[in-house]
Symmetry: C2
Subunit: 250 residues, 2 copies
């Protein structure tokens, strides 16, 4: 999310660019990195940073690293990002986690990536890279494959044209992914086997609203799919049916 | 969180003041309200708002209402607000929710208020006003009473000097609260009975780190405490013991 700041951009734009220099892989930044990532000269970046720290928007530690402050955390939580869906889905995510003991994800498509809206950690220790607010590639995650299968053709084309490798098991052949997407529509669920993270497999299904539109995907992450696929699919189906029913009422 | 903006304040400060005009009871604001709450003239507020909407920091709907945008949601989630504690506590919150079917809260003290760090909704329908990021009064909530009992004397004095009423059952007599705080220390848990919200009772216990410092409070919300107090206290004790043990390892 490093937003370059054009020379003529207003100070408001530059302020936002400094904030947007932070992302999941850049949660602690020094002045030099912040300046580079926001497209500003270090003196301009420093001037903005001082005010952002003074207002509590950012914090600065004694080692000179900046982090996002509690003020922005507070304000960010007020954004109506699928608030309705997340609230409706929350109890079903908990039921699913209790029934499967697996890590549970609720995600939606955001452009050409999958955005994680909610997550409950499982009891079994599976390495999971996603957290709430994460964006991950669609072709390498279970929830992503579901959302990709239900995406417009132009999104599918762009994603298939740029398949990135994350593990030795990531599928990067466009033809194979295209066939998997057809299966997702036919079977009603998607799976991954260590395609994003070694040691993590997943099963995911679409979440539909009352008009049967796919509005999100629900997935579970487990160490292995052996013998578990049908059981997890059944649990996921019950949970999404409940979410769809609640969405119709609300 | 309405931060007045001084006349000589920089445009960065004014930009932050516009963002900070949003709070839990003001999630959708019009220009006039935003100007008032940020201490700016409407033309100045509008100039900043246009750039904030253009950068995705805020959204504006067709009715003229502004809301916090997904960009700020993204950035806010990167703030290291008790990230360690929340991650360590998450599986124990889930176990507690599964065992009690109640709404579960993890909270810490933030100044003279209780800040809700995490929340799992229960299955039984109890009216709960808190959500992640909420600040509520300490004297009227279970987690708040626990944190107040373990607060420095000056915090206790300030809170006892300004007890606000929220329901007919809110305790607003300083002497009664003071006696309750003594009981919290002695018994190891706090309770509330419809003191914040009608129909909602709670039991809460302190969460300690490896040096036995109280770093947070863990609570459950239920429709009634009848016969449930000891059972809920037992479940809470098991969960907090697990959190303390994990905090010692990490």
């Amino acid at each position: 999310m490093a937003g370059g700041s054009a020379p003529g951009a207003s100070l408001v734009d530059r302020t936002v660019a400094v904030l947007a220099a932070f992302d999941e892989r850049h949660q602690r930044l020094r002045l030099a990195d912040l300046a580079t990532r926001s497209g500003l000269t270090p003196p301009t970046a420093l001037r903005i940073l001082r005010r952002l720290v003074a207002t509590g928007a950012l914090d600065r530690d004694t080692a000179g690293y900046y982090t996002v402050g509690r003020l922005i955390w507070d304000i960010g939580l007020l954004a109506p990002v699928q608030t309705g869906l997340r609230e409706v889905a929350a109890p079903f995510l908990q039921d699913l986690q209790a029934a499967t003991r697996a890590t549970v994800h609720l995600a939606e498509r955001d452009g050409d990536a999958v955005l994680y809206l909610d997550r409950l950690s499982g009891v079994t220790s599976v390495p999971v890279v996603s957290r709430v607010g994460s964006r991950l590639p669609m072709h390498a995650t279970g929830v992503g494959k579901v959302l990709l299968a239900h995406s417009p053709a132009d999104v599918q084309q762009r994603v298939l044209a740029g398949l990135s490798r994350h593990t030795p098991y990531t599928v990067v052949a466009p033809g194979t992914i295209a066939r998997q997407l057809d299966r997702v529509i036919k079977d009603g669920y998607a799976t991954t086997q260590e395609e994003m993270t070694l040691g993590a497999c997943s099963v995911a299904v679409p979440v539909r609203d009352s008009s049967r539109e796919v509005v999100a995907a629900l997935g579970v992450v487990v160490p292995s799919l052996r013998h578990a696929r049908q059981r997890l699919f059944a649990a996921l189906s019950v949970a999404t049916a409940g979410i769809t029913r609640e969405l119709s009422h609300s």
